[in-house]
Symmetry: D2
Subunit: 349 residues, 4 copies
């Protein structure tokens, strides 16, 4: 269904940046080698080296589930398990996909701040280690930014990586909203990835301005050789790869990826600030990226929906809603929703 309502549902509801559409159109009208042996793919790969400040392996795919699954397939043996948060996309939202070419198992520690998560890792990674009866902990996967819109600092990532290294397991980062995390932290992409000890990153572009473009970024050279075979075998090597590469090139050019993420983050911050001033509204946490969780007074959610503002609720406890902004969210949309919320509570501005 086309959504005529103003969507705060998901960044997946939005289309693509005009620059991305233009890049697709521009790379049409000529012939090129298929399966990634083209200039757009080569340039996108080179651009990743600049973004991360070092040579990296880069494999383009069309979905985040593919990026995560193929990455983890290279990191985890058949008898291995993956430690992740129970809200992690790979555990909760990918229909078993991390397992599609392996029988990995996601562990489900309870939601927790980074410090206790790290301690928990230490404990979980020791369970059954070397015991042939037990699935062997083989990788940790963290989501940056997290499903609830929070970010790991470079120090927190490094602390988790240290625990992993000591336990002899690999560290994967699901960066479906990586740009929002970098924009929020104001750090370099390297600071929360290879410099901190991440082995493979699923670098997302789709949610933040592309149509269907994601990349597997490999920092640990030992893992690189098998990835092209895993990608092909999974049906994720596109014949006309240049149309994905062109998206990625446009997305990375002139830091469009960061500009888009900064805008989305700023819209969420403005929304959070406005909501904080409305009686009865309770924010779950400070706005750090483009995802907010808030508890709205009883009739407010219904009232906002009636007035054409859409968002997810009914999943996280009574009155809790999720509000997601995007590169396409406008000031008018945010201010319109705040005005409507105030109006519903009877407060006139």
């Amino acid at each position: 269904m086309t959504v005529s309502a103003t969507s705060f549902r998901s960044d997946n509801d939005w289309g693509a940046s005009p620059e991305v559409i233009a890049a697709i159109a521009a790379c049409n009208g000529q012939t090129a080698r298929p399966y990634g042996a083209d200039d757009w793919t080569r340039r996108a790969e080179a651009r990743f080296a600049e973004v991360f400040g070092r040579q990296v392996g880069a494999l383009l795919v069309s979905t985040g589930t593919a990026a995560n699954s193929i990455s983890l397939a290279a990191m985890v043996p058949r008898w291995g398990s993956i430690l992740c948060h129970r809200h992690a996309h790979i555990h909760a939202d990918e229909c078993g996909a991390p397992e599609f070419s392996r029988a990995a198992r996601a562990w489900c520690p309870r939601p927790a701040p980074a410090a206790s998560w790290i301690l928990r890792c230490c404990a979980e990674l020791a369970v059954g280690r070397g015991d042939v009866h037990c699935v062997q902990p083989s990788a940790v996967s963290i989501t940056q930014c997290t499903e609830d819109g929070q970010v790991y600092s470079p120090e927190e990532v490094a602390a988790i990586a240290r625990v992993c290294r000591e336990a002899g397991v690999l560290l994967h980062m699901d960066g479906a909203r990586f740009a929002n995390a970098v924009a929020s932290l104001g750090c370099e992409a390297a600071d929360i990835t290879w410099r901190a000890g991440v082995d493979i990153l699923s670098f997302g572009a789709t949610k933040n301005g592309a149509l269907n473009a994601e990349a597997i970024i490999v920092f640990n050279d030992a893992l690189g050789a098998q990835l092209p075979f895993l990608r092909k075998r999974a049906g994720h090597l596109l014949s006309k790869m240049r149309f994905v590469a062109a998206q990625m090139e446009a997305y990375l050019a002139d830091d469009l990826w960061l500009a888009n993420a900064r805008h989305a983050n700023a819209m969420a911050a403005r929304l959070a600030q406005g909501l904080a001033g409305i009686p009865g509204v309770k924010l779950a946490a400070a706005a750090r990226t483009n995802i907010l969780f808030a508890t709205l007074p009883e009739p407010m959610a219904a009232g906002l929906r009636e007035r054409g503002f859409d968002f997810y609720g009914d999943r996280w406890g009574p009155g809790v809603v999720r509000l997601v902004t995007s590169f396409g969210t406008t000031l008018a949309m945010v201010d319109g929703m705040l005005a409507a919320a105030r109006d519903i509570t009877g407060e006139r501005p």
Copy 2:
């Protein structure tokens, strides 16, 4: 590498039809439900019902390997095998992908005309049937048009389907170039699919005018329920699905798919006709679709390449080359190549 040469290498070398690019641009600039719950997807699915003259299940994916693998995963149990030609893409060119969620095994009968292929099927499908020690023949997969550019007539498909039905196995059609086959046969899409007894079709659009759009078309309702889960699990459910659906909608609108295929077929026919008149050139078979195989005299292949015409060779025996035309191949390209060939042989037109 960008190919400045005139490509007769593969239809994968070409971009997309302008209508397809326009459709992508047109569906941008608004929000929509993700994961296929959008209007474009609904309209593309409805359009397939018209194309095939009956209700069908339709699942959009980005690659032909995905369409084939997911289809076959729904048709074949873990202990099942798939009977296909040894040149079939699923056997020769998908890195084990048909097996990526099952342990199926492709059989490899020798290349043969349809009649003897059918007899061969009868024999192979009986091997080890019901014997717990043997992999159980569970599906036959035929490619329409075939890897060498030939087509199965509706009667031939029906004859193979009859053999399958009698043996209790399912029939899959890899239609990566389905449009070229329909255009060549001048039949309806239904005639070589469900009316003839095909259970699932991989309907290709990428090679014939789309960027990255394929569809799994399900005629056998019993197979439909598991496909959405298999697609998601394989990382092939796109979040911004409308951008694939919009491609497919444009591809099917006003029979663009058939117009593109007819053009490509006509270019191949013209090329074949021209080559047939050049001394020393031997065509492997009549041009029926957009793929030709020809044996060129010793210096001709090198000469053509020097003059900027590109194509595959060195795989099919001494002097044999493959020439593939596309919706984008122009009269000037074909005539230019023919002129160059004549020039090389010393014949002036």
Copy 3:
């Protein structure tokens, strides 16, 4: 290492009943059809029909992990998950085996009495049902008797089965110690299996008197057809199957299986009764089968081990030990251990 100590470690430490060894010897010295087409296998299968009071499918295998994995492989699709206790053998002790031909995932509800477990099932089985993004709950697996030596009553099994049926999922019972449960409940085998709604039972014999003999007992006919192929493919169809079948025949003859279990249970009850009277010893629960958990005073565990009594500890909290009896455990062993325990505490009998 040969254990010269008196073992209360595991029923796996014990050998086989003399009747079972005799049956193996007796079926030697003649030729027979391989792969289960022999008279011993036929008789064992027929005997199962008597044990369960109805026709059942019966497939012999060598290990409990095989019985569980193959059963669950027939019950759960690739995108399915299995709900089980976090201490369940399939989750904790089989190195991912339930997943060896599928990508199933074991859920981990917290340990709980049956009533709350049932409620929990209701909740967990509803999570993500029909949502293509979510692994689909497809089977519940309960262990009878449980890893901590408790039993589900016929009513409790039936209540769980009802929840399963309403949710459209199948019910598997891991009966590695099924005999101990039947002996404890004093019911018929049917009462806690098909009459209560169990679809497939892993019927264990190895721990209770056989060498390496287990059976997959199928009550739900719809699941039967694929099991022989799954068994063969997993390498669990033995060529000289009669040597497993002969074990099973001897194990079921004259209710040896129940006699062995009753003896083991009685030894555990005697041990529990004795321990209950020793100051400082705390039993975790009443002795119902052949597994006891007890908390021993600080120096008692060490003292018992010094005197040649062996058992597992160090896994379940400070001072907690597991004591397992067997068909081979003698009165003298039990009384000897009790005397040693009393001696250590300074109590003379």
Copy 4:
């Protein structure tokens, strides 16, 4: 069905050597650590080091399919294929088992003598190497002795191993009847395994005197670490492993394995010699091990079966039968069958 006929059907029809039964009985009546941490397992492993003249990894399992599948799972990645003879057990008789934890694919070169097989390997191993679209040849598996009773000489094995090494693939030997091959060649076990370049051997005992005992023998240390996990995960780590280990210990003690094989081979040789002298009988090849193929005159097969001699036919062409001898086959059985055959042809001795 019990076979009262004299069986020349398969060595699987026979029971176990008395020494093996005695060893099982002898290791009963005491407790031992489960899962292979027992003295019998340790001694069997040590005995293998003597048999092969060097340290080897040794993992006991219950079936040849398990030994083959688990070995190959450690040798072949998900996108890899296995080159084997089209009659190889792993391809023809294991229901897809080599693929049960990987998606490997068996290639099927036509039957051929070793020399041409080696040349064929060279060609097949080069197909698609490094090309991401192609399944990657990753292992060669040869059967020693072969399904038709022939043997590879040490030189032939070494020649195949050389081809493998040059192609960068591993070499597996299916030794379901390894003893018969060693007995036939009169060489050391090392000569046709590690000294010739074999990486892993499936060492069979079941067909030649054990009940259900096979071993995975690892010569290539790099492959050893993952095997215990693969074995456990496949349900092939037996809890009361000592009963398999005791079989293997008895089988290897005093070279019972070779004595049994020499006897079986001698019986086949005597049978071949006798048959060669009967008009109308044609032997396919010289008797080298315990398997013979012969073409019998029209009424002879039926006549022999009527007189109580059983064997397989109807699979290998008109009149062709397979005759298999065993450690249990007696002189009287062989001479009885020869006398019957002569009688049927009308020749009195």
